[in-house]
Symmetry: none
Subunit: 226 residues, 2 copies
């Protein structure tokens, strides 16, 4: 997902922090020219304008963004309580607003709804490790851009392992955590699934799942370096 444009620069720490926490990428600019210079190739995915610091310039900035050849959308305005009157007759300058001080989850919820409304796709929940990407919403996996055709248990096992990179799990632990608590099957089942996972990961990446003899399996590199 492309980054969100913030105003002003530097962005208020509480705003930057909330966005980081929610997993959004962003870049800050303090005027139109700066925004143009740092604009990504694929454009902005939206903008958040802080209007409670320098209202005049903030609204001017909104206007500039909206009147350009490709109006920026969606645009979220941050205002404090005393500025609610300023919104009047400026409806065309923003798509939603949030009262400051804001709760991070309200900001996140507004962004999510805003992106949904304007058609921009929401950001999927991912588990990533190096080339490997697991999309938790779509139950799909890919490595190095190549999609993996995994079965349900293969996917679940890989998800668990890649969520705890470097850590070694015994077969019994894997059985109880991935298969279920009251599972009574043989421990060799894990071996077979690991084998199939390695095969599907391909020769290059098969070593992502390492055997720790007499202990179990580990995903990714050891935590002790190398």
């Amino acid at each position: 997902m492309e980054p969100i444009l913030l105003y002003p620069d530097p962005a208020p720490p509480e705003l930057a922090q909330a966005l980081d926490l929610a997993g959004y990428s962003w870049k800050a600019a303090s005027d139109e020219r700066a925004a143009e210079q740092i604009e990504p190739l694929d454009g902005w995915s939206g903008a958040i304008i802080c209007a409670y610091i320098d209202p005049e310039r903030a609204f001017a900035f909104c206007r500039a963004l909206r009147k350009s050849d490709s109006p920026l959308e969606p645009l979220l305005l941050l205002v404090n309580g005393g500025q609610l009157n300023d919104l009047e007759l400026r409806d065309d300058l923003f798509d939603d607003f949030c009262l400051a001080p804001f709760h991070p989850r309200e900001l996140e919820a507004r962004l999510k709804h805003l992106f949904w409304r304007t058609g921009t796709g929401t950001r999927p929940e991912l588990v990533e490790y190096a080339d490997l990407v697991l999309n938790l919403e779509t139950y799909q996996a890919a490595i190095g851009g190549r999609p993996l055709d995994l079965t349900y248990m293969e996917y679940e096992l890989l998800k668990f392992l890649s969520s705890h990179p470097g850590k070694v799990f015994t077969r019994e632990t894997l059985l109880s955590r991935v298969w279920g608590y009251e599972y009574y099957g043989g421990a060799r089942t894990v071996d077979v699934h690991v084998r199939r996972l390695r095969a599907k990961l391909g020769e290059h990446h098969a070593n992502l799942i390492q055997t720790v003899r007499s202990v179990g399996y580990r995903f990714g590199q050891s935590r002790w370096g190398v």
Copy 2:
């Protein structure tokens, strides 16, 4: 201006007071039937739904309002902080939300912006995905220019799935989100509807709805790009 529909009945005093203060007229109803009976000749100008009292019924009410022949708009949702998570996957049920407890001026500002927005009318009446087009106003669907003769439930299911392309839904989720909250039928019903949808989509497009074994169904391709 036509009155605003409030839920529940009686409406929370702070809400009623804020609306009175801002000069809006309103009527309260506690279910769909009551709302129909007190509906003005010219219809509602909008709705404000209090979801922090009885969330289940509140969302069911939203759904009813949105699924009627003439979907009610705009719809403002009142929620408390703990309910922000409940908004997920319900984007289609509301146009804006306001955190409770709210400041009267924030409510007024949101209403004003909301009315302006919907007056300008930028609501997408179409759901499109590749060759598929759903016309929400006429309840018609077409793929590759060829019209599809869908039944009501088929249409609703396809609408929901295609509104969240790439995402996997369990049968239970589909039952609760498409059929309704208090639905107690068998999960295999979903299978049958999916089968008929695939048949009507035609051989070429049947794979638009994919089976994710042990999980559920997914519409369209995944969202790696973003």
